[in-house]
Symmetry: C2
Subunit: 335 residues, 2 copies
């Protein structure tokens, strides 16, 4: 096989067949019949969550991960926050002509590893090739199915109450700043890694210890603030967070100051926001912190009212301001 992808790898013929056999089937190990086309599956429950995400992150490789790891983690986490157990993924590749097959192998290997770690299977896929200049290396779509077992506790956002605690599973903005510095366009250097990780096992532990998890969300594009605004609007609750309690790494603080970004709006790819009953706060924190990815978890605020649907932040000197969705482009192609 040549060392680069060419257009014939995407036309469904002999070369496409070889690529699929050598790179994808080799790694993902589909059974004969599936051949990366439709997979026939027997689910353990007919109650499911179904979600899709396309990944266009730039650069493809960054400290803490690559587009493949991100594509698996992103979709697994989107399923897990619904309360479902992630089970199956599809993976679809749009590859630019000339892309190095060895890079594709590294990316596919990362997908496999992250899927193994999360306990999910990549069961079907697709490969398209576009001409040089019609994509930026590689884009990946992953789509996932999670199941709700019959005995599983359901997340009940309609039960959010005044006094409920807002917990974040760790420091915010790591992914955003890691990607920015990896682009090397901004003249800053940092050893910061993306937080990109599958968190379904952490989430499973949380719902195991608490029956009062009202809401879970992964604050990716748009960051912590945008995700909280969405929760507030969708469920008509008012949330107040304390600026001083939001965990932010020094490097993220520093880079944000220099570049003029607000960490509250920087993307995360390995963080979860939990809204839980006040009395379960400690149990949940403990469950989260026992995971390496959750060691910096803390309570950052609480639900202060119903009906309004607004997000507020209080500063250390006691002033309070309302936060809105991210407006305008802060960082394109962050995921």
């Amino acid at each position: 096989m040549s060392d680069r992808i060419n257009l014939a790898h995407g036309d469904g013929g002999e070369l496409a067949h070889k690529l699929i056999q050598d790179v994808f089937v080799e790694k993902f190990g589909h059974d004969k019949q599936a051949q990366l086309d439709a997979a026939l599956l027997s689910l353990s429950s007919s109650e499911i969550a179904f979600t899709t995400d396309s990944f266009v992150v730039k650069p493809l490789f960054f400290p803490g991960g690559n587009i493949g790891k991100l594509a698996v983690a992103g979709t697994v986490n989107d399923l897990a926050v619904t309360g479902a157990t992630p089970k199956f993924l599809t993976a679809s590749f749009i590859i630019e002509e000339g892309f190095l097959i060895k890079d594709l192998r590294v990316i596919v290997e990362s997908m496999y590893e992250e899927a193994e770690k999360a306990g999910v299977k990549i069961v079907a896929g697709d490969t398209k090739v576009v001409e040089l200049g019609s994509a930026d290396g590689l884009y990946i779509n992953t789509t996932g199915i999670g199941v709700f077992e019959s005995n599983q506790v359901r997340i009940q956002p309609e039960n959010i109450e005044v006094g409920d605690s807002i917990i974040i599973s760790g420091t915010i903005g790591d992914h955003g700043i890691a990607i920015l510095t990896a682009r090397g366009e901004l003249g800053i250097k940092s050893d910061l890694c993306s937080d990109c990780a599958t968190l379904n096992r952490m989430i499973a532990d949380v719902v195991q210890v608490s029956e009062h998890v009202k809401m879970m969300r992964d604050p990716t594009r748009g960051g912590l603030a945008t995700t909280l605004v969405e929760i507030c609007e969708d469920f008509k609750v008012t949330v107040e967070i304390e600026e001083s309690r939001v965990p932010i790494k020094n490097q993220v603080h520093g880079a944000s100051d220099i570049l003029g970004f607000d960490p509250l709006y920087l993307a995360n790819e390995g963080k979860i926001i939990f809204i839980v009953a006040k009395e379960d706060e400690d149990k949940v924190l403990q469950a989260v912190r026992q995971h390496e990815e959750g060691k910096d978890a803390c309570v950052i605020g609480k639900v202060t009212a119903k009906d309004k649907g607004q997000l507020f932040i209080t500063t250390p000197i006691g002033s309070k301001r309302r936060l809105n969705r991210l407006a305008g482009t802060m960082l394109p192609r962050i995921c």
Copy 2:
């Protein structure tokens, strides 16, 4: 809203929210909670088919359809040929900066219409925006779930027998030539339309009238020949088709002659290959032909041996040659 997509439409903030509300939720009508993120679904069976496809067709609009219609038809058909009933789709968009929002609306409208026609629901989605020059207008991924009801007859390729009939649901190569002429690069004109269509209803009628449908496949990329070669190899059967019986429109014949293409390798987006027991041939033909998309259906050959896994074609003068997979690139970005 501006009339063109800009990078901020893809960053998860205010503009992205508006785009999703105005263009996608407006059309697909997701419930509040889904908001084009994870959908929570109750399936009628836990036995499912799961498939994914990314679409990079060029041009985006062509006689007989556009990338949106194609994206729905392609995935619905991939599900239907497994014998499953297509139920739910996700739709994920990678949009190039500067893309016209009115074109996006037309494409989304086509997706909605084709999904309605097929009886499937688009339940979740994603939108990413890349810089000008990092994509070619728009790429769409659709991923689908089909269910196998408990009383449903399963397709049993392991029961393929010598003497089984090979049926094609209509003329071949229409999509390939329609796309080629739509590109306008080859100096040929034609009123030929792509055959792009969802065929799950036709397939449902076929499995209704015959319990001896051994195999169904949609011969897309790589065309009739490549798809048959794959079937032969996967199930170790030898198939012989008669050149004179393969239905091909005059325009497809003519354009192929001029351009040096073999219609057997041209893509189709609205055709099904059925392998059925000889005795059910007429019943199946009748069921297919009652659909507008199947009016030109005919028997093109038969299974002549087991164990070999080869495809042969016999010419009108009686010579016989072996056909292999498509080798090299015939038509990039055909779907």
